[in-house]
């Protein structure tokens, strides 16, 4: 088999915000190192591009790192590692400023300073934004800036298939050159996974087609634990049918959520009292956290108080009172999306919205330095679980995470690579050929199971069993379904035997990753017999700190099945308390503890 081999110092898999930031950091930290940036799409296609609302970082005089810390930890229902949150809030602003110095067109105040907007679960306005295309601008700024670093060698449209491991150390990756269909072995002193989330395992989601959990699955297959996988964020406002994201910034700017009766139902779910239209108040009503808002929709739907549209059930997101000028200034992309995909102009009509799967809080286990338990392997961004988001991520924390920990990952990997060196080619030959043979067999798969049928069944099963509310019984059904789908996957039938841009083959590899990641999610959700943040169990409705104030760790057993165990949460200065929003959140208890 013709396999190309090549040596570099650092391999970064994924060209989104985290991967690009890591690449630039590594190039600045160690200019002599050869950095390979692999991505299955051109970097500016990465799903960072679709983030809309903003990027957190304390900037106002009456705000503080501690306030950001408290919002994040309580928003995460105390499952955040507090040392990580501290590091994050202290470095978010400087990273946002660095993006500014690299050209990111952050929206401005009249005096020329950067503006911030309110966001869900954040007590003080600290969300930097570039209209409602924040992720787009961050990604393009990073991509364009990266072009100025000659040591970053891009490998666009290279599909990473395997991590290479020798003597308990990650020493490179294997990939398929999508244009030629050839296998490639890249040996390296350090590897950074920045492959993004796995939202496509759900039938309805805000994610692009590429968000298939590839990096998580690759790490998992090498025995690296996936952590907190049961925590999947449903964004409260996606378009019904497609799931296309309608940003939280709509509510940050003052948008209202109404049920079928035109009633602001959030006041019935511990988020009130109702705030006057045009005067949004942080941590009240529409500015509550995403988990609570999505759960409120679920209750309204059960009570029959949502709209039945031909695209499915929905509530109404009303922006009309903002006026055309404000909508054009702050939410132009939302106007474009609503008009193109549901035929609604938000200037004159409410947008129909519903919760859709959006973000994986969990991921590849790392320490505060982005290092995984496998030496030489680092992970950052949505594919990783560094312990920042806990049981529920606050909007605008994940874009900041890409920069803060992308830089850390780049620097750490550079230091590691300098010390480790590149392994000898001979030791990897057998492993690489074995992997390639497996992927070749998949390309030739001639069973009778349909890729699309398995993928759709997976999505439906995850919605049913591992959605906004879960139960032991339904999770057991989903786990059984997933096991059956994994069996069916063994009998997959593909029709395309070619090599050049064989997307059927690549989709099949992705589906294998999705099945692994979904199994880890469902298994972790089964193990967590409590309700916390985005993980709500109908058969265990209370938070249980006694048993579950800890991270779940799902590992792959030798038989391919998942085992769960638990890891303590790092708590430094904010002991577990109750999460309150709306008026109840004004209770002095929290302030005192702080």
């Amino acid at each position: 088999m013709d396999i190309q081999h090549s040596d570099v110092d650092i391999v970064i898999v994924g060209g989104g915000g985290a991967g690009l930031r890591a690449a630039i950091a590594a190039a600045e930290h160690a200019p002599e190192l050869r950095i390979a940036l692999l991505s299955k799409v051109y970097p500016m296609r990465s799903h960072t591009v679709a983030a809309e609302g903003g990027c957190a970082g304390v900037v106002q005089d009456h705000d503080s790192h501690f306030d950001h810390f408290v919002d994040t930890v309580s928003g995460g229902d105390w499952l955040c590692d507090q040392d990580v949150v501290d590091y994050f809030v202290e470095h978010a602003t400087e990273e946002n400023l660095r993006l500014e110095h690299w050209g990111c067109p952050w929206s401005r105040k009249p005096d020329g300073r950067v503006n911030v907007r309110a966001f869900g679960g954040m007590k003080i306005e600290r969300t930097w934004f570039a209209a409602d295309r924040t992720g787009f601008h961050i990604l393009h700024t990073l991509f364009q800036t990266s072009l100025n670093y000659p040591s970053i060698q891009r490998h666009d449209e290279f599909f990473c298939t395997d991590l290479l491991v020798d003597e308990g150390r990650c020493v490179g990756v294997q990939a398929i050159d999508m244009r030629e269909g050839h296998h490639m072995c890249l040996r390296a002193g350090a590897v950074i996974l920045a492959t993004g989330g796995a939202g496509r395992v759900y039938r309805y989601n805000t994610n692009g087609g590429i968000v298939t959990g590839d990096g998580m699955a690759m790490a998992w297959r090498q025995g690296v634990p996936l952590r907190d996988m049961e925590f999947v964020q449903y964004h409260p406002t996606g378009l019904p049918g497609s799931g296309i994201l309608i940003t939280e910034a709509c509510r940050g700017e003052g948008g209202l959520l109404l049920n079928a009766d035109g009633y602001r139902y959030l006041q019935d779910y511990g988020l009130g009292p109702e705030t006057p239209p045009g005067s949004p108040r942080t941590k009240y009503m529409e500015l509550g956290p995403r988990d609570r808002l999505s759960q409120a929709f679920w209750h309204e739907a059960r009570a029959g108080r949502v709209l039945k549209t031909r695209r499915g059930e929905a509530v109404q997101l009303d922006l009309r009172h903002l006026g055309e000028a404000r909508i054009n200034e702050r939410l132009p992309f939302i106007r474009e999306l609503a008009s193109a995909y549901v035929g609604v102009d938000p200037v004159t009509e409410p947008i129909p919205v519903r919760p859709t799967a959006h973000y994986t809080m969990g991921g590849i286990q790392t320490d505060i330095h982005t290092a995984t338990p496998l030496p030489g392997l680092f992970a950052v961004g949505e594919c990783a679980s560094i312990g920042l988001h806990g049981a529920n991520r606050l909007g605008s924390n994940s874009l900041a995470e890409l920069s803060v920990f992308g830089r850390v990952a780049g620097e750490q990997a550079a230091s590691h690579a300098r010390a480790a060196g590149v392994p000898d080619a001979a030791v990897l030959r057998e492993q690489v050929e074995h992997n390639a043979a497996g992927w070749e067999a998949l390309r030739e798969a001639d069973g009778d199971e349909s890729l699309a049928a398995i993928r759709d069944a997976l999505g439906e099963s995850m919605e049913r069993g591992a959605g906004i509310f879960r139960s032991g019984e339904e999770l057991a059904t989903t786990c059984a379904t997933l096991a059956e789908l994994r069996l069916r996957y063994q009998s997959l039938g593909l029709t395309d035997r070619s090599r050049v841009f064989n997307t059927e083959w690549l989709n099949a590899i992705e589906l294998g990753c999705q099945l692994d990641v979904a199994s880890a999610m469902a298994r972790a959700a089964q193990g967590r017999e409590e309700s916390r943040g985005s993980h709500q169990r109908l058969d265990a409705t209370a938070r249980d700190d006694q048993r579950f104030l800890c991270h779940s760790l799902v590992r792959r057993a030798d038989n391919g099945h998942a085992t769960v165990d638990w890891q303590p949460v790092v708590i430094t200065r904010l002991p577990p308390g109750e999460r309150h929003y709306g008026k109840a959140g004004e209770a002095p208890a929290l302030e005192k503890r702080a």
């Binding site: 009249p110 020329g112 050049v500």
Partner: protein, 251 residues
């Protein structure tokens, strides 16, 4: 609103085919069905070997550009309902770019041109860490902001007759990006970009057909950016000429 439509797709698999060929599918559609949805339907139930690029399905990642009835368009933002009265809808890879396979075009020439114009913020002094933001008023931002909305989808390259004739022409997206940085009040890199803009494959190669702006799915208006670039290029030329005639050593 629903129906079914004949979708005719250009196929080309370099390992098997000597030349492109056509394949037709009957695709059911409803009000929301996009060209991308139609392609996904074909791939899922009709022919798994059809290749095309896509990801975000919300007109921001720029992956799914193709020719729809000879017009450069994003597949995810083009709807079958608009072609309900047509006999068929014809899909081809983007014009003016080489075909890698089926609807997948080689966009590397566009990316190479983008890289040529040094599209990053340039300052005399490196990143001043520890200081605040560079001040920029909303008015200053408005000068370049719309030019920063380019998603690199390549539709403008498929639309550009000049790029079709001369692949070395830097083309609409690259020239727009150069202008985006040149107009940014924070940037000091204009002098290093001007040689590319003034060069024979720069702004003066544009014959101002303006079709790039017609097809742009994000209303970036590259034709306007290039026209502004021509003005800047003239000024730059005049300034340099003046310096030369004056004989100063600051030229």
């Amino acid at each position: 609103m629903s129906g079914s439509l004949t979708v005719r797709v250009q196929r080309y698999r370099p390992e098997e085919d000597d030349a492109p060929w056509w394949q037709s599918f009957e695709v059911p559609w409803s009000e929301d069905t996009s060209v991308l949805d139609a392609l996904n339907h074909i791939k899922d139930v009709e022919d798994g070997s059809l290749s095309y690029r896509w990801s975000c399905r919300m007109a921001i990642c720029g992956s799914c550009g193709l020719m729809v009835n000879d017009e450069p368009r994003l597949g995810c933002k083009t709807f079958l309902r608009h072609y309900a009265d047509a006999d068929e809808i014809v899909l081809r890879p983007l014009e003016n770019l080489a075909v890698e396979r089926d609807l997948v075009s080689d966009i590397d020439p566009m990316l190479a041109h983008i890289e040529t114009v040094q599209p990053w913020l340039q300052r005399e002094q490196a990143d001043p860490q520890g200081t605040g933001e560079y001040l920029q008023t909303p008015g200053q931002m408005a000068r370049y902001e719309s030019f920063s909305h380019c998603i690199n989808c390549g539709l403008c390259y498929a639309a550009c007759p000049q790029f079709g004739r001369n692949p070395d022409f830097l083309g609409p997206a690259a020239l727009t990006l150069a202008q985006r940085y040149n107009l940014d009040s924070r940037d000091e890199g204009r002098d290093s970009r001007m040689p590319f803009l003034n060069g024979e494959d720069g702004v003066w190669s544009c014959t101002f057909v303006g079709y790039c702006s017609d097809v742009c799915p994000k209303d970036v208006d590259p034709a306007a950016a290039i026209n502004q670039g021509k003005v800047a290029s003239n000024v730059n030329y005049a300034v340099n000429l003046f310096r030369l005639l004056r004989g100063g050593d600051d030229a």
